[in-house]
């Protein structure tokens, strides 16, 4: 099998035609067959399946739908108030969550980084990562238990002589619950990349700045944060790209109810209700496609701006 080795020599490769190259390396290429079929079937066929957003599909195995209707379903949802309600809810909840989680995570990472005793630091990290691994179903179950009328939070409120709050059926509390539980679950895990980036900062920078008389706080601002700027930007790009398309849909599906729907319904849950629960597949696919395209535009845009201003980018 010395053939394999010869092929890895760049000089030999240059002369080869593509066909020759495939013939030479075909055994390695056979690894790709099953996984690429998987990608075609489960990732690309659904992308093409979005064609039903432009065609009438009424269920059944003819997954490409019956006949063209152009932008009819788009016109339908764009004039539908429940779509716009879900659209603004999506933006409000996602941006609200990002605005709280992003700085809190960064500050938490800076604080962990200041812990001197390694054992204590490890303990804090290990415990704070734990919620990341807990099933969303259990997390939402915990939220409901904690906020129930006979739960500990309402017991505390009652013991202070105040009126109990129906957290879960009060639309006004939904944002707080959604963002709070999200931060609870994501806080620790979100610090990992920051902490790794921090360990890569040259310690001489800290020594130099402390000789210049900078205290710990100033060092954090002038050394640590600039040192982890590429990480901050990368995470920010991914988060901005995910504002519309993030998977929060599952969580809202578990948390909302008819009483809070007006504030809690987002594009993802609307797609679920209209399409899968309601059977309006084409309409729901049109809404889903709209969401995916906006998501792609956002992540591309954020990536472009970041490349331009900070020289950090995802691609």
């Amino acid at each position: 099998m010395s053939k394999v080795k010869a092929a890895s020599r760049p000089a030999a490769r240059k002369k080869d035609s593509l066909l020759h190259h495939i013939r030479k390396e075909w055994k390695l290429y056979t690894f790709l067959i099953l996984p690429i079929l998987y990608y075609v079937l489960f990732k690309y066929v659904p992308v093409l399946g979005n064609i039903i957003a432009f065609r009438r599909y009424k269920g059944g195995p003819n997954i490409l739908g019956q006949d063209w209707v152009g932008f009819r379903y788009f016109n339908q949802f764009l004039t539908d108030p429940s779509f716009w309600n879900a659209f603004w809810n999506t933006l409000r909840l996602s941006i609200g969550y990002l605005l709280v989680r992003f700085p809190v995570t960064l500050i938490f990472a800076l604080l962990i980084n200041e812990i001197r005793k390694q054992k204590w630091k490890k303990t804090v990290q290990t415990i704070s990562y734990l919620p990341h691994f807990i099933s969303l179903v259990v997390v939402c179950g915990m939220v409901k238990e904690l906020l129930a009328s006979n739960g500990p939070i309402n017991s505390l409120i009652a013991s202070l002589g105040l009126d109990k709050i129906a957290f879960l059926s009060e639309p006004g509390w939904f944002d707080t619950i959604y963002i709070g539980s999200g931060v609870w679950q994501a806080l620790g895990w979100g610090t990992i990349l920051y902490l790794t980036a921090m360990t890569n900062i040259n310690t001489e920078l800290y020594e130099a700045s402390s000789i210049d008389g900078a205290g710990k706080f100033k060092q954090a601002i002038h050394v640590t944060i600039p040192g982890i700027m590429p990480t901050i930007m990368t995470l920010l790009i991914m988060d901005i790209g995910g504002i519309v398309t993030s998977s929060n849909m599952q969580k809202i599906l578990l948390l909302y109810n008819p009483l809070t729907q007006e504030r809690a319904d987002i594009i993802g849950t609307l797609v679920y209700r209209m399409g899968i629960a309601g059977g309006n597949f084409s309409y729901a696919a049109a809404v889903g496609l709209f969401e995916a395209v906006i998501g792609l535009i956002l992540v591309t845009g954020a990536n472009f701006l970041s490349k331009k201003f900070t020289e950090t980018s995802l691609w």
Binding site: N50, G60, L111, I115, S128, P131, G141, G215, Y272
Partner: protein, 290 residues
């Protein structure tokens, strides 16, 4: 860093420690509360007297769960889906990551972007649902649960960057000795890749253990439910018909939820301290290579 810490800095350290203790309390309290509930009497929970410790300590709820077949059925399903799903996922991810890590394969110029694109644009819920239920006819089958998400592109890129970092010389030497491409992969590459295989297994295992949405969409018969769907049903307020209408069942109505949630999370919480370093390694490795 040798400079003697100032008084302000020492104050900061104290404040920081207090803050960290607060974070730990907030992180752990929901777990403590669930455990306390699950060991309390139903009456104590319904009346809202449980806060930190079990009230009227009782093992009735767990005894009930142990006698009740449905819990073991759901739990067994979760174990089954997790094992099968993880095996397929790790295998699929490995055999795709390996060729993609070989720079000599010229068609990777096409295949790599082909795969990465799916991280930024996906078909969406509806076309996926139609594909799985109508076209492939997988509704109500285990394949609908384990196949659609079998390969995570994020995990794939982690594994690819690991393979890229392996020394080329070993493979070349083995090839010189007459070992074929498949032999090299099985006998040289996989043994060298134990850390990344461990990380991948854990990532997929936890993902599958916690998975509820795929089963929720595709599994019609209750017999096939994973435990996560049962937890969901209990939390949504399962009625007597679901739990069983015996007097025994109604005596654990309020505590059954928390006990089931505890048992669902227990394997993860028990194994987690020993394996978390693999997760962290996986995350940070991804960051280096992107």
């Amino acid at each position: 860093m040798k400079i003697k810490p100032s008084k302000g800095y020492r104050t900061f350290q104290v404040v920081n420690t207090i803050l960290m203790i607060l974070v730990i309390i907030i992180t752990l309290y929901p777990f403590v509360y669930l455990v306390a509930q699950s060991f309390s009497s139903d009456v104590a929970v319904s009346s809202g007297r449980v806060t930190v410790f079990p009230i009227d300590f009782s093992l009735e709820t767990y005894k009930y769960i142990l006698r009740d077949n449905s819990f073991f059925k759901f739990y067994g399903n979760t174990i089954f889906y997790s094992v099968v799903g993880t095996a397929i996922s790790v295998f699929g991810t490995a055999i795709l990551a390996y060729p993609l890590s070989k720079s000599k394969l010229r068609l990777n110029k096409f295949f790599t972007p082909f795969v990465v694109f799916t991280m930024y644009f996906t078909g969406g819920m509806i076309p996926n649902y139609i594909l799985v239920t109508q076209w492939l006819g997988l509704a109500d089958s285990i394949w609908a649960v384990v196949l659609p998400g079998a390969i995570s592109t994020f995990n794939l890129l982690l594994m690819k960057s690991f393979f890229t970092g392996l020394p080329e010389e070993l493979e070349e030497a083995a090839a010189m000795d007459g070992m074929g491409v498949y032999g090299v992969f099985v006998k040289i590459i996989l043994p060298l890749s134990k850390p990344i295989l461990a990380t991948m297994t854990l990532f997929y295992l936890v993902g599958m253990w916690n998975e509820w949405f795929g089963p929720f969409l595709y599994l019609e018969s209750r017999d096939k439910w994973p435990i996560a769907l049962w937890v969901r049903q209990l939390v949504e307020g399962a009625n007597q018909v679901d739990i069983g209408s015996t007097a025994e069942a109604s005596s654990v109505q309020a505590t059954l939820k928390s006990a089931t949630m505890v048992l669902t999370s227990l394997p993860i919480i028990c194994v987690y301290p020993f394996v978390q370093k693999y997760f962290v390694q996986g995350m940070t490795m991804g960051a280096v290579k992107g």
